[in-house]
């Protein structure tokens, strides 16, 4: 404190005044150049400009190995909505997203309620559930492939339990998508647990106790007291899960390569890179990417708006 007094005793501003009148416009420009511009510039170069470039290419038949590139207007977009491959990937992505929004949300809430106690055991278990979140999706994918393989751990165990013909979790075209949804749910679960736990610990104990005195049982207390107060946690979990599930690529690339069969697990994100970087149909892939961006923006905005309105009304 004493030092502060000494410092303010010398009017430092007096020495500055000799510089003449302030020039706000120039100052503002300098502040922008120093603080705003560097970050914005990198963002523009590597995110905004690529989106504009993508949109530009989506109006052409660009293929680096098959010139010339011609302007084709909206034809790529028209083709897209009759293209069985794209429609399948839309269906695959929707199923995956719906499961991955619901399962970790519900299971995460259950586990958070279970772990909502004090003590080293519950702290340790919270750490356990969050751990998959810090693992690389490549590692998660490989370990789960070893487990769900036709001769993997799960089927070995099922055989030991007397199941003669256990399912082909990743090799059955009708089942692989759901197996991947379970893997993703396992990885994302910890996020929901941690967010719900924080929400639960923000619920004042007095409220639950008051409700208990008024004769409310545990179920009623949860529905009428706790659940409404968890509204912000639900919003965060739902939006984060929605955005992460919709762009799933890594797991598909490592586990199934879009198969088994044709496109049974090929998500939109997987299709974009397959069409663009492997088949080199970059015009068409760009159109797919732009549609993907529009869908995810719309879905996230609507979800956020609905859940925010719900928070206000509660």
């Amino acid at each position: 404190m004493a030092v502060d007094v000494k410092r303010t005793a010398v009017p430092a501003s007096a020495t500055r005044r000799s510089r003449g009148p302030r020039r706000p416009a120039l100052d503002r420009l300098r502040a922008f150049a120093l603080f705003g511009a560097p970050g914005l510039l990198v963002y523009i170069c590597f995110v905004l400009a690529p989106i504009v470039i993508s949109f530009g290419y989506s109006l052409t038949n660009h293929n680096p190995f098959n010139p010339p590139t011609r302007f084709v207007g909206l034809r790529n977009y028209q083709t897209l909505f009759t293209d069985a491959e794209f429609l399948t990937s839309l269906r695959v992505t929707t199923i995956l997203t719906v499961i991955v929004v619901i399962v970790p949300n519900v299971a995460g809430l259950g586990i958070a309620v279970l772990l909502d106690r004090r003590g080293w055991l519950y702290n340790a278990l919270r750490t356990v559930f969050f751990t998959p979140m810090v693992l690389s999706s490549v590692v998660v994918s490989i370990v789960w492939t070893r487990m769900l393989d036709d001769e993997g751990l799960v089927n070995q165990s099922l055989r030991a339990l007397g199941v003669a013909r256990p399912p082909g979790w990743l090799s059955d075209p009708g089942l692989a998508l759901y197996s991947i949804a379970i893997i993703l749910s396992w990885q994302m679960l910890g996020f929901c647990v941690v967010v719900y736990l924080a929400g639960l610990q923000g619920v004042p104990v007095e409220l639950s106790e008051a409700a208990a005195i008024d004769g409310a049982g545990p179920v009623r207390r949860f529905r009428s007291v706790t659940w409404p107060l968890l509204a912000p946690a639900l919003t965060i979990n739902t939006v984060v899960l929605l955005i992460s599930a919709f762009k799933i690529f890594d797991h598909i690339q490592v586990i199934t390569h879009g198969g088994p069969g044709t496109g049974t697990t090929a998500t939109i994100a997987y299709n974009v890179l397959q069409t663009g970087l492997v088949a080199n149909r970059q015009g068409y892939a760009s159109a797919t990417a732009i549609v993907m961006l529009v869908i995810i923006a719309a879905a996230a905005t609507v979800t956020l708006r609905v859940l925010n309105r719900r928070e206000v009304n509660l």
Partner: protein, 276 residues
């Protein structure tokens, strides 16, 4: 609230569920210390006797798969998070303290970047990088990371800045400090919790990134640790010993990092969940 009846029920249920949940992690741990053929035959058995062959084999490979990947991952992650922290703190501060329509538009554009999937921009990004002569270089990957993750940094920093009174900065400015001086001497030290969140989350995400290094570094120009794992399952289909050793060593640094800093992880995640 206490669990009145059956007080043992909660811990037992919690432990049983966690045990099932832990199986995949257990798989990584035991299979690292087993011989390759045992990994496929009896994936869940304990490694008896344990062997370090997988790990030593990986560390002494002639093609340097592990050390080259590790170096790339460390360099890319470190450079990216340092640049990201500096640039997003400055940009977050600029946007939080600037009034006017343009600042609002820029903030909105940045925040919408939070939900842009990398697949949407990767193709044109390769062209931008090629134009700069940075395709298949570590610098190119770092620059892309900065651009792609800066919305998250700005989001965290500008959110945190709203809780710091502007009077502090005004007082320092009246004392004659320049804007840069005010920022680095007064504001940045106060942002420490936000800096921790940004460093931790971006560090883990960038370390684990898969598709960006796969596309940007390309097949010829080295790998990061995650793309190294991916390539090793294609190349050495039978040799799961190597794959598990690589997975184990790739995960170890992040895991240690997480176990030491888990308080920050939780705090960083739940800031928004409890504010309501």
């Amino acid at each position: 609230m206490k669990d009145a009846r059956l007080p043992w029920l909660r811990p037992v249920v919690a432990l049983v569920i966690s045990a099932f949940f832990l199986v995949p992690l257990y798989m990584i741990l035991v299979n690292v210390f087993k011989r390759g053929e045992k990994i496929t035959q009896s994936p869940a058995s304990l490694p008896a006797p344990p062997t370090l062959d997988n790990i030593t084999g990986l560390l002494t490979r002639t093609d340097d798969l592990f050390w080259a990947s590790l170096t790339n991952s460390v360099v890319v992650t470190t450079l990216s998070i340092i640049l990201l922290t500096i640039l997003s703190a400055m940009l977050g501060h600029y946007l939080a303290r600037t009034r006017g329509r343009w600042a609002r538009v820029a903030t909105l554009l940045l925040l919408s970047g939070l939900m842009i999937p990398p697949q949407v921009i990767l193709m044109p990004v390769t062209q931008v990088l090629r134009a700069f002569g940075l395709m298949t270089t570590v610098q190119g990957l770092v620059l892309f990371n900065v651009g792609y993750y800066i919305p998250f940094g700005v989001f965290v920093f500008s959110g945190f800045l709203r809780g710091i009174p502007i009077e502090l900065e005004e007082a320092a400015a009246i004392d004659g400090a320049s804007r840069s001086r005010v920022f680095w001497r007064v504001v940045f030290p106060l942002l420490r919790p936000a800096t921790a969140s940004v460093l931790i989350f971006l560090g883990v995400w960038i370390w684990n990134d898969f598709i960006d290094p796969l596309v940007i570094l390309g097949p010829s120009q080295g790998t990061t640790i995650t793309t190294g794992i991916y390539r090793s399952i294609g190349q050495y289909q039978a040799d799961f010993g190597t794959v598990f050793a690589l997975m184990f060593l790739a995960t170890l640094p992040v895991l240690i990092f997480y176990l030491f800093l888990q308080k920050h992880f939780v705090k960083g995640l739940t800031g928004g969940a409890t504010k309501g």
